[in-house]
């Protein structure tokens, strides 16, 4: 039964998944090609001289090296937001089932409610993992294909860490969407609530990182635990950050199971 439910969800989300996956893979290929061109020309030292100091401090070493530039896809805000929003979309599926009435037909069969949550959790987790995974694979292929061997490539364990952080932050918000679906009667409402919340948390982290008066609020944002430039530079505690994101996600998943079990559908 679970396989049937998962297959149905995958069929519905396949087009969007392929489109987003293709965009991310193309971005990785393009950024490697671009970084290779820069390395062949004036070099990253020239680029570093053009970047204002305040931007350098914000971006860290991202744009100052071939390895940094080719890793930027994992923490570029629009890309992070795309992965996060897709996970949120998948996490709101139970609310969509309630809204369309499909839950009536499905739960008229001998199925437990938690199976609907599990189905969405499986698909959301898969998407949150596969997209950064595809980015990592495409980065490696692009490097092998386009980058001259004398350039310093991003370290593979740093790439894995960046991909893990991206997956964890996506999963965390997808789990929050799943929890919100436990209450929502409309998928659009759940998606808007968590989607806008994700943007809000991103902005909170951005502002709090630059304004000491909001520093206290920074740990509230999941994005606080995914600072890509610092992961790349090895200045974070990845085990702590990943643990926080995954733990927050687990709490949200537990809430989703609890609430969907007790609600009227």
């Amino acid at each position: 039964m679970m396989l049937t439910l998962v297959r149905r969800t995958l069929t519905r989300a396949a087009t969007l998944f392929v489109v987003i996956g293709t965009l991310l893979v193309l971005f990785q290929l393009t950024i490697v090609a671009m970084a290779t061109t820069i390395a062949d020309g004036s070099g990253f030292e020239g680029l570093a001289r053009l970047v204002p100091a305040f931007l350098s401090s914000f971006l860290g070493e991202t744009l100052m090296s071939f390895a940094g530039m080719t890793s930027i896809g994992f923490f570029e805000p629009l890309i992070v937001m795309m992965v996060v929003q897709f996970a949120i979309y998948l996490g709101t599926e139970p609310a969509g089932d309630v809204e369309t009435g499909l839950v009536d037909l499905v739960l008229a069969r001998p199925l437990s409610r938690h199976q609907l949550v599990t189905r969405s959790l499986i698909v959301m987790t898969g998407a949150a993992t596969l997209l950064p995974g595809a980015m990592s694979v495409s980065l490696w292929i692009a490097l092998r294909w386009l980058a001259p061997p004398e350039l310093v490539w991003p370290q593979s364990h740093r790439v894995v860490l960046l991909a893990s952080h991206l997956a964890a932050v996506g999963w965390c918000f997808g789990a929050a969407a799943l929890a919100t679906s436990g209450w929502a009667r409309r998928r659009g409402s759940a998606f808007a609530f968590v989607g806008v919340g994700a943007v809000g948390f991103y902005l909170l982290d951005f502002v709090a990182s630059a304004w000491s008066r909001l520093e206290w609020a920074r740990p509230l944002s999941p994005f606080h635990y995914f600072r890509g430039a610092e992961v790349l530079a090895g200045r974070t505690d990845p085990a702590r950050d990943l643990s926080v994101l995954v733990a927050a996600g687990f709490v949200a998943v537990a809430v989703a199971y609890w609430q969907f079990q007790r609600r009227d559908v």
Binding site: M1, T4, L5, R8, T11, R12, T100, G101, L102, V103, D104, L105, V106, L107, A108, R109, P110, L111, S112, R262, R263, D264, V265
Partner: protein
């Protein structure tokens, strides 16, 4: 253990301050085709959704075939066929894919049964290959009936089953329910706000109004309480008066015409007409729809 196939005891559901249903106690016997009649918003769908454990009761309980609808929901739904009032669907799915998807989620239907139903409801292979987004309302409804009936469940719950069906399909549906009733193995709870829909197939009806079950009757009992208009035309003026009776009420009395509303047998009235210059007697058929309309619209 209850002898009833479907039983609710003081079942109550409030949506905040709004009453969905209140203290609804109902028994549907095994093999019975039970009509659940009420106006829109009376509480029919709420009752059905409580039976399916889609809603959680505020108080009271419901059971099907002796299984508690909430605590033993899986056992209940393993034995249940359900047609919702609104036919939900996956627009990207074909009709065949839809039936295969639903079949995989419960007891599998037999191919022979599926073929019989598809043939009866005139669903062709071509229809099954089309995406459901291209289906008409009637076609969705037909597929809904097929999915509800395909596993031959011991209990069928059908919410407004003939809504959107053409007369031929309504007849096909009625035939199917008749067959199930004759076989006596299936209990059917059929919700509707149209009497003619239940008149053809149901043995008993429950009338629900404002969330409360107002009456449970056989159709003959309903007819007995429904007045019929009787008009007596005289060939010449007469001074005679209709005798007083609890069976009829006088609507109009004119020298050459009496108009009466009759509840029950008319033999006594016919006897009083002997010796009078009766030219014609007109007795209108039972207007149970009118009685129900009054029932639905009267203040509680």
């Amino acid at each position: 253990m209850s002898a009833a196939a479907i039983r609710t005891e003081d079942l109550t559901k409030y949506y905040g301050r709004i009453v969905g249903i209140e203290n609804l106690s109902l028994e549907v016997l095994p093999g019975e085709v039970f009509g659940f009649l009420g106006a829109n918003g009376a509480g029919k769908t709420t009752t059905i959704r409580l039976l399916l454990d889609l809603l959680r009761p505020t108080s009271g309980s419901a059971s099907i075939l002796g299984f508690d609808c909430h605590r033993q929901g899986l056992d209940v739904r393993r034995r249940l066929g359900y047609l919702p009032a609104e036919m939900p669907m996956y627009p990207d799915q074909t009709g065949a894919g839809y039936l295969a998807f639903l079949s995989a989620l419960g007891p599998p239907p037999s191919r022979a049964r599926l073929d019989v139903l598809l043939h009866r409801f005139n669903v062709s292979n071509l229809d099954l290959r089309r995406k459901m987004r291209d289906y008409s309302h009637g076609m969705k409804r037909k597929l809904g009936l097929v999915q509800a009936l395909m596993t031959e469940p011991p209990v069928l719950v059908l919410d407004e089953p003939t809504s959107g069906l053409d007369p031929l399909m309504i007849e096909a549906f009625a035939e199917t329910i008749d067959e199930l009733a004759r076989a006596g193995r299936t209990t059917v709870l059929l919700s509707s706000h149209v009497l003619s829909e239940v008149d053809r197939v149901c043995t008993r009806i429950g009338l629900v109004r404002n969330g409360r079950l107002s009456a449970v009757q056989t159709l003959s009992e309903l007819r007995a309480m429904t007045p019929r208009r009787l008009t007596v035309q005289f060939s010449r003026p007469t001074d005679a008066l209709p005798p007083a009776s609890s069976v009829w009420t006088i609507v109009a009395r004119e020298p050459q015409r009496w108009v009466l509303d009759v509840r029950g047998p008319i033999g006594a009235l016919v006897a009083t007409l002997s010796g009078l210059p009766v030219a014609d007697i007109t007795l209108e058929p039972y207007a149970a729809e009118d009685a129900l309309l009054r029932f639905f619209t009267d203040a509680p």
